[in-house]
């Protein structure tokens, strides 16, 4: 080594590596220990079935309608729920962006997240069940003659997912909506664009990339539904979602390899939807949403 060249430490810090870099270590350890290792272990496990060749678990899953059917069952819940949450969140976010007391509303909306799915499910059973207020009021008013079945079926899980998923979707949507410079809307208005055109020409193109991200995150949340599918759903058929299949494989059949394989398939199918949405997003404008400044 020539004496002219800088020390190793100096060369490393020139590339952005110095003592401060060590601060990422706890985070790296955390991610490796709690995410990467279990994931790789599960992947390895899924190719080591109790019996048969390496791919036995996967062939079993895709040849048994009781198993592969869960993918469609889960999609049928997660996709419309995510879409509906987005469609409800968007107009509300547009209204809330003009409010002054946004924080109060935000706090109110965070509450359902903190309650958790189990409490929401309990409440739904009491409120929406056959003997619940909802049905009794409707029957008293003479609107229905027999109780509407809103729990222990598809709609029970649907409603529960909307309730627990909405705050998250809304808060994300709100942050994207408020991130758009209000002077852009004013400029569009002075140029003759009415409210509908301002939305279509200015807000929507600027929001779509953010809405795509919101969709992905909300979808992933809904896709991994388990508690509400059991508590307010019909876990043996209509709401037998993919996580139930994995759960049963692991805890009822003690087949961890099969459970891992199902978990991998679950991951891949969500990834498929996310990749599709992000792929569409890459076709959109993704620059700054503020008025460009020099």
């Amino acid at each position: 080594m020539s004496t002219e060249s800088p020390s190793l430490g100096a060369r490393l810090s020139a590339r952005g590596l110095d003592g401060t870099t060590l601060l990422v270590l706890p985070g790296v350890i955390f991610v490796v220990a709690l995410f990467i290792y279990p994931f790789l272990y599960g992947l390895w496990l899924s190719f080591h079935p109790k019996a048969g060749p390496a791919l036995a678990n996967y062939t079993k899953f895709f040849s048994d309608p009781f198993l592969y059917g869960t993918i469609w069952t889960t999609m049928k819940l997660a996709l419309p729920v995510t879409l509906i949450n987005l469609l409800i969140a968007l107009p509300i976010a547009f209204r809330v962006r003009l409010l002054r007391r946004q924080r109060l509303l935000t706090t109110l909306l965070i509450l359902p997240i903190t309650l958790g799915t189990v409490l929401v499910a309990e409440g739904m059973i009491f409120y929406l069940g056959p003997q619940g207020w909802f049905n009794r009021v409707l029957m008293l008013a003479g609107l229905i003659s027999s109780p509407v079945k809103l729990v222990n079926n598809y709609w029970g899980v649907f409603i529960s997912l909307v309730i627990t998923g909405f705050p998250f979707t809304f808060l994300l949507t709100l942050s994207y909506v408020t991130g758009i410079d209000p002077s852009l809307e004013q400029a569009a208005a002075t140029l003759g664009a009415n409210a509908r055109n301002r939305f279509r020409e200015v807000f929507l193109p600027l929001l779509l990339p953010g809405l795509a991200i919101t969709f992905c995150l909300s979808f992933v949340q809904a896709y991994s539904v388990l508690p509400s599918a059991v508590l307010v759903g019909d876990p043996s058929s209509a709401t037998r979602v993919i996580s139930i299949a994995a759960y049963q494989a692991a805890t009822e059949e003690y087949d961890y390899a099969m459970a891992s394989a199902i978990a991998m398939i679950m991951g891949l199918t969500q990834l498929g939807v996310v990749a599709l949405v992000l792929g569409l997003r890459s076709l959109l404008y993704r620059g700054p949403v503020a008025a460009a400044k020099g």
Partner: protein, 354 residues
């Protein structure tokens, strides 16, 4: 949707409150077709509020806005058809320059061939040929500013509103764009209302200047009138009268009054009737208070700086009050100096005129 050419725009006692705060306290003003009007004032004086009210971006709390005999303050901004240039340009970041400029035309359902022709003409007017396919983020600040102007004028609005359009540009570009804005105004024959806090900008651009302060009009006049004859100290302050010295009337001679101040005496023109107690404030620009042997005020130089064609400095009188003055040579700090005022450009106000 396009507003027909008008003869005059009248603000009739317009008011705007923001939760108890009066941003505009009954402003009345008549703007004639073809005029270039500058709304001038310090920040918080209500000038941007007034502009937003005219554009329709803010509702009035009281008063009316009339375009000839048509009431327009009840119309939504998209129904008024005025062009507006925003301080931060507000270009649509996802649209090309051509799309940005053509937005207003598209909203009006202009046929494609006419739209292309008018966009090309607007691009040429603001000298942005070759940039049409770029996104706003790819242009410099000055270019973006020109896009904003082109976008506002391509719809041929009868009234163009500009909200401090040059405040985000550097000094050299500001000067260039100033001339550009005046050129565009003249070549289109439109009416322009221009909001600024920069007195130089207002003086060089406007046909008439409206000085606003605390939500009220303080003075309306041509740049020459405002520069030479501000009606009160507030306006004088804005017009570059940096010296405001308290004094006492001691005499009168040939149309000028003599005022005794700390360190000597100054002569000037009395504005309004003489106050009974004789207490006045003398307002004087630094360039009209010069160092020289024939001076009438004694002071000590405290600071001096070179400005190319002359020196400007600060001098303290016995009481410690400081005066801005100009000189032909560099004076040493701490040296005694005699200052003389140009009496025909020295204004004397009664002390109560704030």
């Amino acid at each position: 949707m396009t507003t027909p050419v008008f003869q005059e725009l009248r603000l009739e006692a317009i008011r705007r409150e923001f939760g108890g705060f009066n941003a505009l306290k009954g402003v009345s003003l008549t703007i004639r077709r073809g005029e270039f009007i500058a709304l001038l004032g310090p920040s918080g004086c209500g000038k941007t509020t007034a502009l937003n009210c005219i554009a329709g971006l803010l509702a009035l709390s009281g008063g009316r806005i009339m375009l000839d005999d048509r009431r327009i303050d009840t119309l939504r901004p998209e129904q008024r058809g005025f062009g507006m240039v925003f301080q931060n340009y507000a270009l649509f970041p996802h649209m090309t320059i051509a799309k940005n400029i053509g937005f207003g035309l598209r909203m009006r359902g202009t046929p494609a061939d006419e739209m292309a022709r008018r966009i090309a003409a607007a691009v040429q007017l603001v000298r942005l040929q070759g940039q049409e396919a770029k996104l706003p983020g790819q242009l410099s600040g000055g270019q973006q500013q020109r896009v904003a102007i082109a976008r506002a004028i391509v719809i041929e609005p009868p009234l163009v509103l500009m909200d401090e359009p040059l405040s985000n540009l550097d000094a050299k570009l500001r000067l260039e764009m100033r001339q550009e804005i005046r050129r565009i105004h003249s070549s289109l024959g439109s009416t322009t209302i221009y909001v600024t806090h920069d007195q130089e900008e207002a003086l060089s651009l406007a046909d008439r200047i409206v000085v606003l302060r605390e939500g009220e009009i303080r003075q309306v006049g041509t740049p020459e009138e405002l520069y030479a004859r501000p009606t009160d100290l507030g306006v004088a302050d804005f017009m570059g009268y940096r010296n405001r010295v308290a004094g006492r009337l001691v005499g009168e001679a040939g149309g000028f009054v003599r005022v005794a101040i700390d360190g000597g005496e100054l002569e000037g023109l009395l504005q309004g009737p003489a106050p009974k107690d004789g207490r006045v404030v003398v307002a004087l620009r630094p360039e009209d208070l010069r160092a020289g042997a024939a001076g009438s005020v004694d002071a000590k130089v405290t600071a001096i700086e070179y400005r190319g064609h002359e020196f400007v400095g600060l001098a303290a009188v016995a009481s410690g009050a400081e005066l801005h003055f100009s000189a032909d040579e560099r004076l040493a700090a701490g040296a005694p100096v005699r200052l003389s005022g140009a009496r025909e450009r020295t204004l004397v106000f009664a002390e109560t005129a704030a």
